[in-house]
């Protein structure tokens, strides 16, 4: 779209450094995100995967300053265009949110206002961040809708959210998120509540918009297959920690972490009759983490060394892993070369 985007200073659009997020609770301090570092380049799509309860949503909420109380960023930095978002005041953060960083959540019904026509909700964003008003706003909103593949933007403008299907509502949410031409889109399980067919449409819409606008996308999902179709790079999160980061091809070629392999093995294969292998047990609660490697209780490879928590190390350029056994295997391969 024709809006100029303010120029950005660093090569990494978004850089998260050693972020730790905690919820002080009666039973103790719940650390949902533990020293997570991640970066997102301009025009890149990064997937964040893990089972539910791993801390993916808390990550997204802390980037946007939307942590529900009593959550707070305990340590770390979230650098965006030279600013540390952690240090911004709520009004300053509001300017970034929506205007420069767009958000799409799992449940559009919760994020949309039920008594406002869909078009108005998009126009509202244009008004708040750009001062666009009246007929001009309506025209711009209809243009956005049409760009998103709606044949008649006007009809959609006048519809209320409850009159739409889940997939249509999610598209309206995407229009709200992208109305101000942000440079980063955070999508937290945007298709999890939708049918597979609608999911496929939303994913291809996001991909098209990403390319057309050179957007950087942080795509959060519990489904590694979906992430592999939508993203160039993947970070695997387990119990508040990043356990593996790699380009998608590298991750499927050489899934180093036993958890990554388990996530691949539990995918339902539609093209063959092999039963998916479930991962035994559940993600440990942040208040009841096992000592040492957090995946230890569920890991088929666990051994004595795993009683100490492994560090995140770079085994190959751009391919990081947090596992003693993987680290050793990669080291051996390097020695052999």
């Amino acid at each position: 779209m024709g809006f100029g985007r303010p120029e950005l200073k660093s090569t990494h659009l978004l850089e998260i450094k050693a972020l730790t997020v905690e919820f002080p609770m009666d039973q103790g301090v719940l650390r949902a995100v533990d020293e997570v570092s991640l970066s997102l380049a301009r025009g890149e799509s990064l997937g964040l995967v893990g089972e539910s309860g791993c801390g993916k949503s808390v990550m997204a909420q802390s980037i946007l300053g939307l942590l529900p109380p009593p959550g707070r960023v305990r340590a770390g930095e979230i650098l965006f265009d030279g600013m540390d978002l952690v240090k911004l005041s709520p009004p300053e953060l509001r300017k970034v949110r929506g205007r420069r960083i767009g958000i799409v959540f799992q449940e559009p019904m919760r994020s949309l206002n039920p008594v406002l026509r869909c078009g108005e909700q998009v126009a509202e964003v244009l008004r708040a961040h750009r001062g666009v008003r009246g007929g001009e706003a309506r025209a711009q909103v209809c243009a956005i809708f049409e760009q998103m593949g709606f044949h008649d933007g006007g009809d959609l403008y006048d519809a209320y959210p409850h009159q739409l299907s889940g997939g249509m509502r999610q598209r309206v949410m995407i229009a709200v998120a992208l109305a101000c031409d942000p440079c980063v889109l955070l999508a937290d399980e945007p298709t999890t509540a939708l049918d597979v067919t609608i999911q496929a449409q939303i994913i291809s819409l996001l991909a098209r918009l990403k390319r057309a606008r050179n957007l950087s996308v942080l795509f959060i999902s519990h489904n590694l297959a979906l992430v592999s179709e939508a993203c160039e790079r993947v970070a695997v999160m387990y119990a508040g920690r990043i356990v593996e980061v790699a380009p998608v091809a590298g991750l499927f070629d050489k899934p180093w972490h036993p958890y990554t392999r388990a996530l691949i093995a539990c995918l339902p294969g539609v093209d063959d009759a092999t039963r998916p292998t479930p991962i035994p047990g559940e993600v440990p609660h942040p208040l009841a983490l096992p000592g040492g490697c957090r995946f230890r209780d569920r890991c088929p490879e666990a051994r004595a060394a795993c009683g100490k928590e492994p560090p995140l190390v770079e085994g190959e350029a751009g391919h990081w892993v947090r596992c003693w056994v993987a680290q050793e295997a990669v080291g051996r391969n390097h020695d052999a070369e």
Binding site: S45, E51, S52, G53, M148, G149, F150, H151, S165, G166, G167, M168, R171, D195, V196, T197, I198, Q199, A200, Q201, I203, S204, L205, A207, R208, R211, H222, N223, L224, A225, L226, S228, E229, A230, C231, E232, V248, A249, F252, A262, L263, I264, C266, L267, P268, G269, V270, D271, A273, T274, R275, P276, T277, P278, I279, E282
Partner: protein, 325 residues
């Protein structure tokens, strides 16, 4: 059609919901199920798959006797559910249990797991004297819930655990048929795999007849014997699982198959999904139209006028409703 010797037999079942008709709302009706005939064999496992609104839940509720169809009949072991007396229906319904989609809201938030199971057993007079605790222990064991968790409340359990408790509650009545209505749609992939394989194991161990409902074909692929694909209140294709996946005949089935995300590295092209038209399609004009006609690449005016019959295609067990097959 297969022989009607099945344990559950639906014949020409249809359901029309009527709404409105108040001074403020004009009467309106929705044909949730158009015409479904289905015979499920004892110990068979059937997958019922289709997008939301296709009528899966309505069929499920009719099948277990919770909802009376507008047209057609439902038989369980040869007895017609809806011509039975109220008392007889209650008796028959015990053998037909259903597990719902949203695991947490299907449980009473004020009851612990133990209390929930105890109540079900008690209401149906199934507690063997002094054995209640044992019975509950073995039910929980069956669904892999630890005994320590028996005294927890639903909000203290994960989604997967709630779904296991829901299954245990259904099994408490020792049903012969278990209908699971999208039991995994709200769970993450790893938990989906756990629940689906639990259902498959239970079926083997208890000799259950299982109907597994999903909107995603990949969920049922490895665990059912036969798949029925629903769209717009019709079964548009039905076949033994291997036939359906190796030779999907209805264009809607192919759309569903294509939509499943594959574990394959990003190419940036999105050739697969980008080729499909976006969203929005209007309801078919004629009520008898093929519900896929507005989206179908091969649709003709004949398709928009009338949906063809469900007819055998390449083999007698592979049925499809499409004039090109």
């Amino acid at each position: 059609m297969r022989s009607s010797s099945g344990v559950v037999v639906l014949e020409n079942v249809g359901k029309t919901f009527r709404m409105g008709g108040t001074p403020f709302q004009p009467p309106r009706s929705v044909d949730a199920v158009r015409e479904v005939s289905l015979s499920i064999d004892r110990r068979e496992s059937l997958g019922l798959v289709g997008e939301s609104g296709s009528g899966k839940t309505t069929v499920a509720r009719i099948m277990v006797g919770l909802l009376e169809p507008t047209r057609g009949s439902v038989c369980f072991e040869g007895r017609d559910l809806f011509s039975a007396s109220a008392g007889e229906l209650r008796m028959l319904r015990r053998h037909l249990q259903i597990v719902f989609q949203d695991p947490e809201s299907a449980l009473d938030p004020r009851q612990t797991v133990f209390q929930a199971l105890f109540e079900v057993l008690q209401v149906h007079g199934l507690i063997r004297s002094g054995k209640g605790r044992e019975q509950i222990r073995s039910l929980l064991k069956m669904v892999d819930i630890r005994w320590e968790d028996a005294h927890r409340y639903p909000h203290q359990l994960s989604g997967g655990q709630c779904q296991r408790v829901g299954i245990a509650r259904a099994l408490a009545l020792e049903p012969s048929v278990l209908v699971a209505d999208e039991p995994v749609s709200q769970l993450d992939v790893s938990t989906q795999a756990q629940i689906v394989s639990l259902l498959a194991d239970l079926r083997g161990r208890l000799g259950l007849t299982v109907v597994l409902i999903a909107h995603d074909l990949s969920v049922v692929r490895q665990v059912v014997d036969r798949v029925a694909v629903m769209l717009g209140g019709w079964i548009v294709e039905m076949a033994p699982t291997e036939d359906l996946f190796s030779r999907p005949l209805h264009p809607y089935t192919r759309t569903l198959l294509e939509a499943v995300p594959r574990a394959r590295p990003f190419t940036g092209s999105f050739a697969r999904t980008a080729s499909r038209p976006l969203g929005q399609w209007s309801a078919p004009r004629s009520p008898a139209a093929c519900p896929f006609a507005p989206r179908c690449p091969d649709g003709t005016s004949a398709c928009a006028a009338r949906i063809p019959d469900l007819a055998p295609a390449d083999n007698p067990a592979h049925l499809v409703r499409c004039r090109w097959q």
